[in-house]
Amino acid sequence: MSQQLYLEDVSVGDALPPLPVTVDETQMFFFSAATYNGHRIHYDKDWARGTEGYDDVLVQGPLQAALLARAVTDWIGPAGRLVTYSAQNRAVAFPGQELVFGGTVTGVREDGDRTLVDLELAATRGDDTLMPGSAVVSLPSRSGGA
């Protein structure tokens, strides 16, 4: 990995390489541990089903958000910078489902001495958007500078 993306490589309408992830309960356990998250809906099936009425334990919203951000930071490379990041939980996801994290370039604009790239993002499951989002990133230029 770590191949650098440059501003000159980017045009409005470009798609980020989609990141497909099927979260399993091991990953959910480690994410809850890493975020000190004791919420039962992520590990207690009786609680998730019986008390909260879901079909199964739920993939953490912040894990989906982190995966969506990873699709961006993987794409921008080490010299790119994540300037803003936004994501909204729209629907729940269950372990074992294939989720795809990706996005599209919606704008390229000057901002003082840097050039910013606007992205529209989404975590999807089939035709469903589970998590729409957006981001602004800065990228280096081949002519030097960021």
Binding site: A34, T35, E52, P62, A66, R70, P78, T84, Y85, Q88
Partner: protein, 166 residues
């Protein structure tokens, strides 16, 4: 619909106030555990040489990690029945809407976080409103949060929200 609300008056009164403050040290091992839980093996989080080559002083924390650097310690007997701690969101309780879900987050990142940076979070309750969704009524809570480091530099600012359903 009707004038019913899922928001207790003592909770509604807290809009505009500081819900929580917290501080904590950014720790390389902890952010690396977070990163591998996301299967995010970006060398910037793991490899000091790669990070320096990209213009940083050392390995940096993943930008989204800053919110976890300030998490405190909650005695297990102090957890809510659903297992969540609530400390970082100001222990807002909605007895008529106990099912809680993260809503969304929107963050502007100003500076990277390095190992042993000391981060202070201040979280203010921006709004608490009743909403009507496809699956019925819910409460939307929005917080504004700032994260500063040991040099009083603004590291990140965030708007986050939570949904509580009956």
């Amino acid at each position: 619909m009707t004038a019913t609300t899922l928001i207790p008056p003592e909770v509604a009164e807290r809009v505009g106030t500081v819900a929580a403050t917290a501080s904590g040290e950014v720790n390389r091992r902890e952010w690396q555990r977070w990163a591998v839980a996301v299967k995010d093996h970006n060398p910037l989080w793991f490899d000091a040489d790669a990070a320096r080559a990209a213009g940083y002083d050392d390995v940096v924390a993943p930008p989204l990690y800053v919110q976890y650097a300030v998490l405190g310690v909650t005695p297990l007997d102090g957890l809510r029945p659903d297992g969540s701690s609530g400390a970082v969101s100001g222990n807002l309780t909605f007895p008529d809407a106990p099912r809680r879900m993260a809503g969304g987050e929107s963050t502007t990142f100003h500076l990277p976080c390095y190992h042993r940076d000391e981060i202070t979070m201040v979280r203010t309750i921006e709004s608490i409103v009743d909403k009507q969704g496809r699956s019925g009524p819910f409460v939307l809570v929005t917080w504004r949060t700032t994260y500063t480091n040991q040099r009083d530099e603004l590291v990140a600012e965030a708007s986050t929200s939570m949904i509580a359903r009956p």
